[in-house]
């Protein structure tokens, strides 16, 4: 009897030992994942999306034990996925794809659920062309979502072992949940930052932004003795447009001028609404002679705009004053702006609808 009890006890102890080992192993793995997650959280708790992307490229493959990954962000307006960051040598730095063009990403986003394919080539998503970059056909496609809002999608290729355990998959899901929040915060921050320097009416930059950028451009020009000019633009008879056709029409004029400036000015020029009906264009690496044809093109284009209400059609004109940096005499951007302002005054005095170099 005692022997039987002893044998029973031994079997039971062996069972308990095995279970404890199992629990211990799983807890150990959980702790490692928690540490990785905490480490990633510390590294990616940033508001700058570019910085987040840099950290992901550097750390994500190691933390997830994969060779390659791609992170796409969802553009709601175009219904496309924009490649945000990746570590794949076969892909360009940026690209956009329509959701319908990738069956695997489409399914993951449609169902809001991750897809794991141990052998992608045998899956229904395979489109007949194997990527020679990958050493195995392992793929995880995990949507980044906040509640039901799609933020983007994370694709993991080439797991080093060729498969993910359940614990590893859960870890990937934890990471995607965390990344969804971090990226979404960074995007919101970007948007808020952009809104704070954008003129609400015309959609171009506001005076606050201009002050900062103009000051830094001026310092840079002064330091490198590189040319810099500014065009100050004022809408002719704007008060009478408002009085005659109403403020809404006046606003429409300003919006259209904003669009003209966006079209004509170069990528590195800064355009801003300076206040009321005044606009400023800052032109780096450009002297007054170079700024003149740009101002004239703006003036021509604005003159050709046609506005109307129920009874009348009318056009508007603008006057432009150009100022250029003088390395000997000028100390700040305000000096340059003063010259442009004087030139604008002359343009107004000389009959409006013209450009004057100060």
């Amino acid at each position: 009897m005692n022997d039987t009890n002893g044998a029973k006890k031994d079997i039971e102890l062996a069972t308990i030992r095995d279970l404890l080992k199992k629990q211990n192993g799983m807890l150990g793995q959980s702790l490692i994942f928690s540490n990785h997650l905490l480490y990633l959280k510390k590294s990616v708790s940033l508001l700058d999306l570019e910085e987040i992307k840099r950290v992901l490229v550097e750390k994500l493959p190691h933390i997830l034990s994969i060779r390659y990954f791609t992170l796409f962000l969802f553009d709601k307006k175009s219904n496309k996925l924009d490649l945000a960051c990746h570590n794949r040598p076969d892909l360009p730095q940026s690209m956009s794809i329509a959701i319908d063009d990738s069956p695997v990403m489409k399914e993951a986003l449609d169902h809001g659920k991750y897809i794991v394919e141990g052998n992608y080539q045998n899956s229904k998503f395979f489109q007949g062309k194997r990527n020679s970059l990958f050493q195995n056909n392992f793929l995880v496609c995990a949507p980044l979502m906040i509640e039901n809002e799609i933020v983007g999608i994370l694709n993991l290729n080439d797991n080093i072992k060729g498969f993910f355990s359940v614990g590893e998959l859960d870890f990937v899901i934890n990471i995607t949940e965390f990344l969804s929040l971090t990226i979404s915060n960074a995007l919101l921050f970007e948007k808020v930052e952009d809104l704070s320097v954008t003129d609400g009416l015309t959609g171009i930059k506001n005076r606050q932004y201009l002050e900062n950028i103009f000051a830094s451009e001026f310092s840079r020009s002064l330091r490198y003795k590189s040319p810099l000019s500014a065009i100050l633009i004022d809408v002719d008879h704007f008060k009478s447009i408002n009085d005659t056709y109403g403020h809404q029409k006046g606003d429409q004029v300003l919006i259209e001028i904003g669009k003209v400036l966006n079209v004509i000015c170069r990528a590195h020029d800064t355009i801003a609404r300076y206040g009321g009906e005044e606009f400023v264009v800052v032109l780096p690496e450009t002297n007054a002679k170079g700024a003149f044809p740009i101002a004239e093109r703006i003036r021509d284009q604005v003159q050709s705009l046609s506005f109307s209400n129920d009874t009348k059609h009318w056009n508007v004109t603008i006057s432009c004053g150009i100022g250029e940096i003088d390395f000997e005499k000028m100390k700040s951007k305000d000096d340059l702006l003063k010259i442009a302002d004087l030139a604008l005054y002359k343009a107004k005095e000389s009959g409006r609808n013209q450009t004057v170099i100060g």
Binding site: N5, K8, E12, T15, I16, M26, S30, V166, D170, I173
Partner: protein, 283 residues
Amino acid sequence: MKPIELDVFREIEILPSPPFQIARVLNQVNTMSFKDFSAETMIQNDPSMACQILKIANAPFYGYPSQIVSLEQASNLLGPGPIKNIILTTPILESNNEAYSDYNIAVRSLWCHMIITATFALEISELSQLHASDECFTAGLIHDIGKIALLVYQPKIFAIIAKKAKREKISLCQAGSETLGWPISEISGHLASIWGFPEKLINALKLNKNLESNNQESKKLSALVFLSDCLANNLDYHDGWDTSESSIETWIFETLELEQSTLDSWIPKLKEVAELAVAAFES
């Protein structure tokens, strides 16, 4: 025997689960992503893990102190991560073969009895539409945690009570009341109370029949758990130590506004669900 106070159970933070339960749940955790499992399916056969989940969900940290009554609510609140951690940290119940030759069989029966009580509570709540079924299931599942606590943390006293019940051919509850001076169900209620469970659940675990008339919801839950417990015993799903039949007291019928004939008509269905629950438990 030196009498014990209810307070000796105050320090208990967690109840263990038997090895067969831990092995089953760990196996499920290992083969199923936590996105795909719900707490109910994972721990619906385990009162110890269920208590731990309710204890955590009712902690002020999660914003609903002493308000979470069911495992379903707790699972929705906590999400899969904390539940997985609870599963991984549940201690293993070691057998006490020195005190009982058939300890493992009895423990298995106790677990089975709690599952059947939970299943009956769920089924009766649906048949009678008297109370939220998820709450009934949860209360049924954990109604005997006092027995587990006594068995694990006061094994000598438990042995005395079990022997007395056997010798005098009385129920374990009666033997417990006579030995301790208070019913074993008080331990369940006491643990529920120190772990921050809602009042409704505490009353149900105490099998409290003396509630104020303005506390009808709570009284119904108590009556339903009491009824399910009696039915589990009477249909031969005893707790491993208790083999006596339980009489269903009048207050249960009155509280649940139930006729004996109605209850009798439910028995075939209850037997059916019990068989399914046992099959799931044994698998």
